[in-house]
């Protein structure tokens, strides 16, 4: 596990040094992105929609600057609450580095499991994303913005991930993501393929007794731009099913993202996570606020 993390930091360092010299020669320019083209923070802290990852890069910067963002997200479900806070830095609209801390509040379930009412499962997620081609808004109308990314996840409650039958408490997801705003129809489409073995995104560990292999999962997003400041849409995310004691369902949501101003984006969503650790029908609301500069 230490090795994966080392690999991640080396990749991040290589990404930054590979682009820094060209840009360092010129003056940095602050801001300049169009509203909403830096997306919102996904549950994993990388830029996306709410549940799905997008190829957009955090921050208000263009290819001539460095930007960043901080965010907080609260999602309340029947038997759980998920709090996420995180930050991200965008380098030249090319590389994004992100960190997020997730806390899953188990409410009464924690009590039933003997962990105590409101026991919190915590996870750290370190992300890096590289935009490899295309532009989500400009250029060839059929060429999406494409990015590759990596998310290293460290669940801080290995006694729980062990108890549910997960093989590991740390894991790394790899993904490739394509996003395009089809201006002629005001429609945004996103598609992501994720190579993962995370259970409930990692909150229940990685791999399990039923299956311990990596597999490809899909994330799709469809949005409609109502104005420069407002996008509504839906997302769908398929999931592995690795644990024999707890069936895992696909996730989906319906969202609205609103740019309050250049620096603040508010997102609200109706989210259905399906069954989580044997508790079915985890539906609820999500609110997320992200400040970008």
């Amino acid at each position: 596990m230490k090795r994966t993390f080392h690999l991640l930091s080396v990749t991040m360092a290589a990404m930054i040094t590979s682009i820094a010299p060209s840009a360092a020669a010129e003056e940095l320019r602050q801001g300049g992105k169009l509203l909403l083209t830096n997306g919102i923070a996904s549950v994993e802290g990388s830029t996306g929609g709410g549940l799905a990852s997008w190829s957009l890069i955090a921050g208000n910067e263009t290819r001539d600057g460095i930007g960043g963002s901080v965010h907080a997200t609260v999602a309340e479900f029947k038997d759980y609450r998920l709090d996420t806070e995180g930050l991200a830095v965008g380098f030249f609209n090319r590389v994004e580095l992100s960190y997020a801390r997730q806390a899953l509040n188990t409410k009464a379930i924690g009590q039933a499991l003997g962990l105590g009412y409101g026991y919190k499962l915590n996870q750290d997620i370190y992300g890096a994303k590289l935009r490899v081609a295309g532009d989500a808004v400009y250029g060839d109308p059929l060429m999406p913005q494409i990015a590759v990314g990596i998310q290293h996840k460290r669940n801080l409650d290995s006694q729980v991930t062990d108890a549910v039958g997960a093989a590991e408490s740390e894991g790394t997801d790899f993904y490739v993501s394509a996003t395009k705003l089809f201006l002629s129809h005001s429609i945004l489409i996103g598609a992501t393929a994720r190579y993962t073995k995370a259970n409930q995104g990692g909150l229940l560990g990685f791999g399990g007794d039923k299956n311990n292999d990596y597999g490809v999962q899909f994330e799709g997003s469809l949005g409609y731009q109502l104005s420069r400041k407002l996008v509504i849409g839906g997302e769908y995310r398929t999931k592995p099913d690795n644990l024999s004691i707890a069936r895992e369902d696909d996730w989906y949501d319906f969202f609205a993202a609103y740019a309050i101003n250049r620096n603040l984006t508010l997102a609200a969503a109706y989210v259905d996570l399906g069954s989580i650790a044997t508790s079915a029908e985890q539906r609820g609301g999500l609110i997320s606020l992200r400040a970008s500069f």
């Binding site: 300049g32 001539d64 109502l226």
Partner: protein, 165 residues
């Protein structure tokens, strides 16, 4: 002898300092010769008259391009780029270009986008600023957001020609 040479030089300097002579009526300055062609507009026109009507025909488009020129030459983010440029010509060619693309009955007689924006040093942030100003101007004309986007979809592919670093 020296004095007369200096005099002669300074006399010759006068027209050079005044710059090239503009059109006696419009004040528009001459540019290096180029082949006129509607293809220089950088996008194919819409079919039918739906877009032209939505943009208020030639009159509406004229207001939009005039207001756009006012906007881009006074916005602190990008006004510097337009200093010393031929704004009379820009006002005319921009109108022709929008009118041609919106299929409102014009020909475009200006230069192609790559030649017109060569060496201006424009950045992505400048293009985004121009797009925002255009959106504000279209809002003022009460053009539906979906139709604004349909028009912007014609301009978006020009990015690599108008942004040069």
């Amino acid at each position: 002898m020296l004095l007369s040479l200096a005099l002669a030089l300074s006399v010759q300097d006068v027209p050079a300092n005044a710059g090239p002579v503009g059109d006696p009526v419009t004040g528009e300055l001459p540019v290096d010769p180029y082949q006129q062609d509607n293809a220089n507009a950088g996008a194919r026109p819409f079919k039918g008259d739906k877009m032209a009507k939505a943009f208020g025909g030639k009159d509406g488009i004229k207001r939009i391009t005039d207001n756009l020129v006012v906007g881009i030459t006074s916005d602190p983010r990008i006004e510097e780029i337009f200093k010393g440029q031929d704004i009379v010509r820009l006002r005319r060619t921009l109108f022709e270009q929008f009118c041609y693309i919106l299929n409102a009955g014009c020909n475009y007689t200006g230069r192609d986008m790559r030649s017109a924006h060569k060496n201006l040093g424009t950045q992505m942030a400048d293009l985004n600023a121009l797009v925002e100003i255009l959106q504000n101007v279209m809002d003022q004309e009460n053009i539906a957001f979906t139709l604004q986007n349909r028009f912007l979809a014609k301009l978006a592919p020009m990015k690599d020609d108008v942004v040069d670093r």
